[in-house]
């Protein structure tokens, strides 16, 4: 379902940012509600960078700060502390009237469709379309194409009261996508949709990310969308507690699964370990760990080779799918070898605490590790 991508018109070039630049960049973001003694912090030091072409799903319990973060990224609230850049523009530095212009480049899908009851489905979409820059005929055609695509071709002249809840929501989705936005912010966009309509909406959103290189940030608990997400961000109590690029997590799982050490882990445990690992690059000749240092991280080689050096002599070479750094973590001793990148290297790194937690979580994993440990000694 997620692989179906139709050809779309070329995206509108961003005014200020190059196409490869992050669509959204959040750094050190704090946010508060209320004033004086009633002031209450709702976001805490959040950081996230979302490149073009990513469908990001935000999850978390009610009150976790998802919607607040979404409205801040959507230039609907003013930034209190920290920095938010959207499409290359620092929102905190823009005057209010320029924030309005930024919002025109964002597609908003609200949980409540908020369509004008006096306008037809087509006119509701056109209200957004006429903010764009397409020639009238192209814009009109695009409105109709979108409505057609969303299964509303026979209802373009219907007013909202004659449409079902799902149909109204699809009109709202067309309204959000009609101007080829480079960023789409959506709050439970498929909540009112049936299975088929959800499939069409997911296809459209995926198309938007692939063909238009747009970023989609979506608050949802719909597993049908989570399955298609490129990235899962989980928020709790105003903090991003988990930020997983699923493509990387899958790669990590693919690497980990054939290794004896991880074979005993259940899929859940494996995924959990993968989610905790972060990608890190090293250049050729760069020292990754040094003999005699305290151990803090476990490494899995994703791409490239390393030299294992003891007493200034190369004793081994490790490549794609190999791992290192576990011995000192298990024994609590200092590093017994120096590891140097033999060529440009991509690794996935697991911190000491997460490594220990994984061991504690799975006795079989711990046994495997100790077996490997004793084999190496």
């Amino acid at each position: 379902m997620c692989a179906m991508v139709a050809e779309r018109p070329a995206p509108i070039p961003a005014e200020a940012a190059p196409a490869s630049a992050p669509v959204v960049s959040v750094d050190g973001l704090n946010h508060y509600y209320g004033e004086g003694v009633a002031r209450n912090q709702v976001l805490f030091d959040n950081r996230i960078e979302i490149p073009p072409g990513q469908l990001v799903v935000m999850t978390g319990p009610s009150g976790a700060g998802k919607t607040t973060l979404l409205t801040l990224v959507g230039a609907l609230r003013s930034v209190h502390e920290g920095r938010i850049a959207v499409l290359g523009r620092d929102l905190g530095r823009l005057p209010p009237h320029d924030l309005v212009a930024v919002r025109r480049e964002i597609g908003f899908i609200f949980q409540m469709h908020n369509l004008f009851e006096a306008l037809t489905a087509y006119e509701n979409v056109k209200m957004a379309e006429q903010l764009g820059h397409e020639p009238p005929e192209t814009g009109r055609r695009h409105c109709l194409e979108l409505l057609e695509r969303l299964g509303l071709g026979h209802r373009i002249d219907y007013k909202p009261r004659l449409l079902s809840g799902g149909e109204r929501q699809r009109v709202a989705i067309a309204r959000a996508l009609v101007n080829h936005p480079r960023l789409v912010l959506a709050d439970e966009p498929t909540a009112a949709l049936d299975k088929d309509a959800t499939r069409v909406v997911i296809e459209l959103l995926k198309e938007t990310t692939v063909a238009q290189q747009a970023a989609v940030i979506m608050v949802t608990h719909d597993y049908r969308i989570i399955e298609c997400a490129d990235r899962l961000v989980h928020m709790v109590d105003g903090r991003i507690v988990s930020d997983v690029v699923l493509h990387d997590a899958l790669r990590i799982c693919e690497f980990l699964r054939p290794i004896d050490l991880f074979r005993a882990l259940t899929p859940n445990q494996l995924t959990h370990v993968a989610e905790k690992m972060t990608k890190r690059h090293f250049s050729s000749g760069e020292t990754i760990i040094r003999e005699g240092e305290a151990a803090t991280e476990f490494f899995l080689i994703s791409d490239g080779e390393v030299e294992v050096v003891r007493a200034e002599n190369e004793v081994a070479r490790l490549g794609r799918g190999d791992f290192f750094g576990e011995v000192a973590l298990l024994s609590g001793e200092l590093r017994n070898a120096t590891i140097i990148a033999a060529e440009p290297l991509e690794t996935f790194v697991l911190g000491k605490d997460d490594f220990q937690a994984a061991i504690e979580a799975s006795p079989s994993f711990r046994d495997q590790l100790y077996r490997v440990y004793f084999q190496r000694h």
Binding site: E15, A16, T67, L70, T71, G74, L76, R77, R89, L94, H97, D98, V100, A101, V102, R103, R104, I106, F108, F110, Q111, M112, N114, L115, F116, E117, A118, L119, E123, K126, M127, A128, Q130, L131, G132, H133, P135, P136, G139, K159, R175, A176, D187
Partner: protein, 393 residues
């Protein structure tokens, strides 16, 4: 980086007619709102119509005097008040170059009692008089019948006078101040807010009728001056002012009308009463319009907030709300205006007042209607301005 905040040109040229759609989406609601606003507009139109009828009726006599300049007592605060001066004063006016004629106009509003020939009841009326050889009116019917007035104790009666006066030519004769007069003709003038009817007679009959009442020969209320062809009214007016006694004023017809209008609008209680009536209609209309706009804005607040969120400037939303309010006003004004034409006609016939829809009343009522709707919308629209687009998430 330059970021425009105004709408792109295309949106400005071919926008979805949101205000119109909002207005016409619910026909029943439109009917209710236009009915409410129309009621207030009708109130204003009636007040404006009465006010105009009041002014027009009080000015009909002045408008009907066939003169270029008018001489009257400088102590008068309105035309229809009594402060006569000797007819001989006009002799000096006749000597002024440029004056073709200076004719005496007699009038009485307070001492002339008419007996209804049918039932014998007596009513206060107004009476005008002139020398039949020196006509002062431009009313064709009076001028056509003025020869009959040369006979003593003859009068012309106002057939548009109030019915209870019994001013019917077929009656043949009646009594004025107890003097029997013969009805020799009629004309159509109509009552005003002071008088119920009018009789016109010769100066001689006027003296006869009033002689019994006052015992002295009457003075004249105005001198009606016609200019010779090519004479400069301003120069002749200045010369008359210099020549005539200080106690007399000289006015052109326009000045005399303005003098009378000023009294009615500012001094008499009638002008302010109608103005207040119009203001009451305006305020009622504002309240109705405010309620309509406020309810509509409240109902659609999430939609307006959504438009803000997707990039519409607040000014655009203000324009939509104000435009819708103005359209609402028009939707109420049109039926009220049409209804008022009918009502003017009915009331004019019943009250014998010159109730007529004029361009002035049309434009003024339209302006007041749009004003009341736009002011109330400007108050109600604060909710749209305050709408937080973040709240739609």
């Amino acid at each position: 980086m330059s970021i425009a905040t105004s709408l792109p040109g295309r949106a400005a040229l071919h926008p979805v007619p949101l205000a119109w759609r909002n207005l016409t989406a619910n026909k029943r609601r439109l009917l209710r709102s236009s009915g409410g606003i129309g009621f207030a507009v009708l109130l204003m139109l009636m007040q404006l119509g009465f006010e105009r009828a009041f002014f027009d009726s009080s000015l009909m006599v002045i408008r009907g005097l066939d003169g270029d300049l008018f001489v009257q007592s400088a102590h008068k605060y309105q035309f229809a008040t009594q402060d006569p001066f000797p007819a001989a004063e006009l002799d000096a006016a006749r000597q002024i170059p440029g004056v073709a004629s200076a004719r005496p106009f007699y009038a009485d509003w307070f001492d002339m009692f008419w007996k209804n020939p049918a039932d014998g009841k007596i009513f206060l009326i107004r009476a005008f008089a002139f020398d039949p050889d020196q006509p002062v009116f431009s009313f064709a019917q009076i001028n056509a019948e003025r020869g009959r007035l040369k006979s003593p104790d003859t009068v012309l009666v106002d057939r548009r006078g109030r019915p209870f006066l019994g001013m019917d030519r077929t009656a043949g004769q009646s009594q004025l101040n107890g003097v029997t007069v013969k009805i020799v003709g009629n004309f159509a003038l109509g009552p005003d807010f002071m008088s119920d009817g009018t009789v016109v007679m010769s100066a001689r009959t006027f003296a006869d009728v009033l002689h019994g009442a006052a015992g002295n020969p009457p003075g004249i209320e105005a001198g009606v001056i016609k200019l010779a062809p090519g004479a400069d009214p301003a120069r002749v007016q200045a010369a008359l002012k210099k020549t005539l006694p200080v106690g007399l004023s000289v006015m052109t017809k326009d000045q005399l009308i303005a003098f009378e209008r000023k009294f009615q609008a500012e001094v008499s209680s009638a002008g302010p009463i109608f103005a207040i009536g119009t203001v009451v209609g305006f305020v009622v209309g504002m309240l109705i319009s405010y309620q309509i706009t406020y309810t509509d804005v409240a109902d659609q607040l999430p939609q307006y907030a959504t438009l803000k969120a997707i990039g519409y400037p607040t000014l655009f939303l203000l324009r939509v709300v104000l435009e819708q309010a103005a359209l609402n006003g028009l939707a109420g004004w049109v039926p009220a205006w049409l209804a008022s034409i009918l009502l003017f006609r009915v009331i004019g016939e019943l009250a014998l007042l010159p109730m007529r829809m004029s361009l002035g009343i049309t434009l003024l009522s339209l302006g007041l209607t749009l004003g009341m709707c736009l002011i109330s919308a400007a108050i109600a629209v604060r909710r749209v301005v305050a709408a937080d687009p973040a709240e739609v998430f």
